[in-house]
Amino acid sequence: MEELKLLGCWGSPFSYRVLWALKYKGVEFEYIEEDLVNKSQLLLTYNPIHKKIPVLVHGGKPIPESIVILEYIEEAWPQNPLLPQHPHDRAAARFWIKFGEDKAPVFYRFFHTAGEEQAKATKEAEELLRTIQEHGLGDKKFFGGEKLGLADIAYGWIACWLDVLAEAAAVPLLALERFPRLQEWAENFKQVPLINDNLPDPVKLLSHFKSRRGEIIAAPTS
């Protein structure tokens, strides 16, 4: 098989999306941890436009953007399919994946702000989570129904990062327990065997994001 590498970051939900998809497909790869403060020449060469992780490199050919990578993985390794068969159901999965992606900056704003701005950002984040819960997930076990799919992997940040970020930024309104159906989904998600074996360390994550939050608050505002 051709050489497969993943340039990622241990604390990044975007990086984990790709890791989970590769593990779920049972594909062997080399993981390279990137230092985002001192970006490697490799990263800058492989993702010259955005200069971000994750980047998947297959046989020397780079693919940046986590959701583009997810679709590539699905296509290149069709075993253990992560997208439904019917085009209409695939469209629904892609709609929700895009929704999460487009709204990510809005969502993460609560972590990067304070005071009144944070209160406004928190309210917006709350509304987004409700929309995802009511319209995206609904009564289903996973976003696509009974089985894990790409949309679940794309929303993995809710299962592992939401509580961490909410606690680090002292925003109890965004604790997962306030979204019971999402909380139930998160439990189901984390119990999928190949996901369960590859979860980020919550203690390490909390410590990291608490210190990130400290930096954000301490930074002088322009």
Partner: protein, 227 residues
Amino acid sequence: MAEAEAVVKLLGAWLSPYCYRVIWALKLKAIPYEYIEEDLSAKSPLLLQSNPVHKKVPVLIHDGKPISESTVILRYIEEIWPHNPSLPTDPYDKAVALFWIKFADDKSPSISKLYRSDGEEQQQAAKECSEMLEAMEEQGLIEGKKFFGGDEINMVDIAFCSVAHWLGVIEEFAGLKILEPHRFPKLSSWIQNFKSVPVIKENLPHRDKMIALLKRRREVLLASKSN
């Protein structure tokens, strides 16, 4: 005999580049459809029901089932009607195409910001547009290739519709010049080639009509900002 209900309906708005993406995709595959013009200031119950999350156009309704978000619709059309393919079959080439389609989606809103803002905000939008064009010129377009899709247009070309037509009209309206031919020779060629494709050429909103509407919209937006 009762008229059969159209199997494919498209809810759209004549000014929206996102709607044209879908129109072109349907026409390139010769898929018959019924077009329904939406009044975005008084959205129809059908639109609100079909796209409850965003309440936006375009929405494709196929056999009674709605699909929203133009790039999701394009992927759907491609899967249901695979003839005249608009994406490469090789997985890596397809990933590169999807990367550029996402880039077009993420960066295109800066174009409409040009007419929706003034002062510093407009300058920021102009900077973002310029960066988008630079990336397209330097990394996206390949010397000697007529289109992103090679000899024929594909989904990537269609995704960059705002750059091909809307940007020029908005620049003219706002008195800006970002897409200078000497700075962006490949892009300028691409735009000419793209707009010469018959399906595109015959299905573009008219410049004068666009400018009149942009003018009205800008007045309303700037007035509400100062209140």
